[in-house]
Symmetry: C2
Subunit: 355 residues, 2 copies
């Protein structure tokens, strides 16, 4: 009976070992819905990089499958997909959800707001992440920075914009808060599907549009029909966003939670580096191949008027909602300090190079 | 004998299972030598964050123990520590190793070189990482960005610097390449241990020094004795560095390799956000509590002279070494394109805010 006892003991140890092994090896398969189409450059690279890094780091224990808007057919439905748990994750932009909750607006970028390096400091060290979570927590979601485009260009215009009056009656595609600001100057703000933008601009259905910047504008062809390319004011640091279903996240073991967080973070930061790189390369291409493009900056008069209307809208929002006030105040206070630093660091340095 | 056979079979299965388990569960314990003292802020947070993230993501399978220079007693010995394998990793600055290999100089920051966002684009998307690896590969090491201080201040001066002639005979602590540039203007460049800097400045043993910027200067007390605080030119984007012993890295399983890489990357990027935050907070403190501090920018004449001498030194280096030429050319070509983008994006935007 000695062998029998031994065999039983060994069997028990084996079972325990196999059980432990099984729990370690459990594979979690998640789905991510992105607001972008298949193979959309830069924006789409952020979730792709994230998913690849997660797979490698987890040794295949967390697999994230990406559905583009071509598949799920609802670029502006991904908030609800994650809220309901139909998808565990999304990659999108926070300001798309203003209609659902006005306070989501503040976590992408704000006209006359922070530039990317300032905004990253606010998110990670200045209380931005906590405010963002306060907004998204209500919907059972976690929200993380998802990659920055850098400073966006003010848009492509068929005609030169010399005075504030030139905006009266201007038909422009410019979404979100910036559109509201422009409409205060008398512009007629319209929304047109991306696929129809070039034709609309070419035929004069619209007089101007904003898209992103050299990184992504060139492939749209706008430079052929609207040669005045204005520098930006309305999206100084457009940060995309990962949304994660809170329950799904809580079910992951602690190591996979951390793997997911770090992969989102490194991919988001990388997107800013990639955007900066692509913008530089494409701007060089524009200068070389499309000398008809005229890069302009709005006059002081125009900028002052835009800022004035923007400030009025911020006051209105602050008065409407205490959480909006809390976020606007946080950004305003933080910007005072961080902009003073930017002024004597990168700005002073660049100024000595340019002037 | 039936039980005997069963027991043997079970034993074999168990051994196999335990063996598999053991290989999965093997704990790697690494040592990292940092060039900084214990609890040195910001610089020291980057390796600390990295090690914590690695531990969490690997579920304790990769443990990185950090030795500060208080422990290993050799801030400038960590290159050799990693090369020899005495330490698997280091956290340091590339330009410290100029005496061992002049081409290590280029991967920290260069006078009149790229700002942080530009340099990150160069490292990750513009060929910088590959050039850095070409340099470090010769020593059996891998090299990764280790965190950026952002634009460093030009230093603390006891007297106002009005003309190029004011640099003649100036006794200044400023290390590295920038020191060589300043000596061309007639400055007497000295090196003094950090712990003795305040006294040297107070007693007039030196007339000026550069340290980092508001993020780390305030705790040194320089503002009390040298109130002229100049904006920077010599370290526009100081990137620290993780060094990894190549053999040790190759012995890690693929998942731990990726965990290490992503933890280094997210911690490095985070350091720039943290530096930006701390600089802004401390600059606000300086303005509030130390109104005697006068923030100045060197005149156009001084900046032009510094740039001229800097360019001459770069030409000398290019002529001396083909690899130096390759790196200098890469940075120069890249900077032309990326600076043109910075000019019409963040710079144009900031200018409209300041002027």
């Amino acid at each position: 009976m000695k062998f029998f006892k031994l065999a039983i003991t060994v069997l028990m140890i084996t079972s325990l070992s196999v059980a432990l092994n099984a729990s370690d090896k459990k594979v979690y398969t998640w789905k991510l819905a992105q607001s972008w189409g298949t193979n959309f450059p830069i924006f789409g690279d952020a979730p792709k990089n994230m998913a690849e890094r997660v797979k490698k780091m987890s040794n295949g224990r967390l697999i994230i499958k990406i559905d583009s808007s071509n598949k799920h057919k609802s670029a502006f439905g991904v908030f609800d997909f994650v809220k309901s748990g139909r998808y565990e994750m999304a990659h999108t932009a926070s300001y798309y959800w203003k209609g659902k909750d006005m306070n989501t607006l503040f976590f992408t970028t704000m006209p006359f707001g922070m530039i990317a390096q300032e905004q990253n400091a606010w998110f990670y060290y200045g209380g931005g992440m906590e405010l963002m979570q306060e907004v998204y927590g209500k919907y059972g979601m976690l929200s993380f920075p998802g990659g920055n485009t850098g400073n966006q260009m003010g848009g492509w215009f068929r005609k030169e914009m010399k005075t504030v009056d030139d905006f009266k009656g201007l038909k422009m595609r410019i979404p979100g808060f910036a559109g509201e600001v422009l409409s205060k100057l008398g512009a007629s703000v319209v929304n047109i599907a991306p696929g129809e933008l070039y034709t609309a601009l070419d035929r004069g259905t619209i007089d101007a549009l904003e898209w992103v910047g050299p990184s992504l504008d060139l492939m749209m062809g706008f430079h052929k029909v609207a040669p005045f390319y204005y520098t930006g004011w309305h999206e100084p640091a457009t940060e995309l966003q990962f949304l994660v279903n809170e329950k799904a996240f809580a079910e992951l073991p602690a190591d996979l939670q951390e793997i997911l967080k770090q992969a989102m973070k490194s991919s988001a930061y990388d997107m800013l580096s990639q955007s900066t790189h692509e913008s530089a390369m494409n701007l060089a291409k524009i200068k070389k191949d499309f000398p008809n493009v005229k890069i302009k900056t709005f006059s002081k008069e125009i900028m002052a008027k835009l800022k004035e209307e923007n400030n009025k809208l911020l006051v209105e929002m602050s008065n409407k909602d205490p959480m909006a006030k809390k976020i606007i105040d946080s950004q305003r206070e933080y910007m005072k300090k961080i902009r003073a630093w930017t002024k004597i660091s990168d700005y002073a340095y660049l100024k000595s190079d340019f002037e």
